[in-house]
Symmetry: C3
Subunit: 94 residues, 3 copies
């Protein structure tokens, strides 16, 4: 069991969440703010089975656009999403 934490642009959050739900995944959204641009973005939490992680990442990758960053956001174009995958010791519905 894994917890996927993905930071996506606000404009992409609905599309990404809808794509995850369509594929029978569950998701929780948290409003967040980027440290550098100080603009609102969305942090998603998705608890999934080990063998589903790649599928979740594919769904995020294909449903989050590559934003056109303001020119001052350094040489690296912003990613469509920044994703952290963590191992879960437990995942329970109480």
């Amino acid at each position: 069991k894994k917890l996927i934490i993905a930071v996506v642009q606000n404009e992409d959050a609905d599309t990404v969440v809808d794509a995850l739900l369509e594929d029978e995944f569950r998701a929780t959204r948290l409003a967040s703010t980027g440290g550098f641009l100080r603009r609102g973005n969305t942090t998603l939490m998705v608890g999934a089975q080990d063998d589903q992680v790649d599928r979740v990442l594919d769904l995020i990758r294909s449903n989050a656009r590559n934003q056109n960053a303001p020119a001052d956001a350094a040489e690296q174009q912003p990613a469509a999403a920044t994703v952290f995958v963590l191992d879960l010791e437990e995942y329970q519905r109480l």
Copy 2:
């Protein structure tokens, strides 16, 4: 040391947090939104010692009601809480 992340209904958040504090646990609350019902809920973070995890889960289970989900929320009744337990490499008060 473990980090417990629990998604609970807003109506239950105060009761759950009070029960945790009474038992000398610490907690942080984050406003969140359910992916499916798109309604506000609460994400709790509780850092605890390894041998306290079961106690935290018991406190959550007995203080979060089982909500009556709207009929369209699929065959599965919503859980009182969705809980993720993660291993911590470090837990420090700086």
Copy 3:
């Protein structure tokens, strides 16, 4: 790769984030609430390489003041920050 989750006071959040960015770290901020004092605080997420964790903790420690807690906040002075370090299985820019 590690995910550092730090709960800091709102008054310190900008200073801490600026110090992290100056050192080429990336950060995401989430508005949160303390369980005990029920006052707003800030939860920071910082994904970093294994060998950078100590540097991130130093930056947080030296940029978050020790708040003067209200006298009723128990015998323990609040920490400048409460920090959780988690191991990441993956950290990707999609």
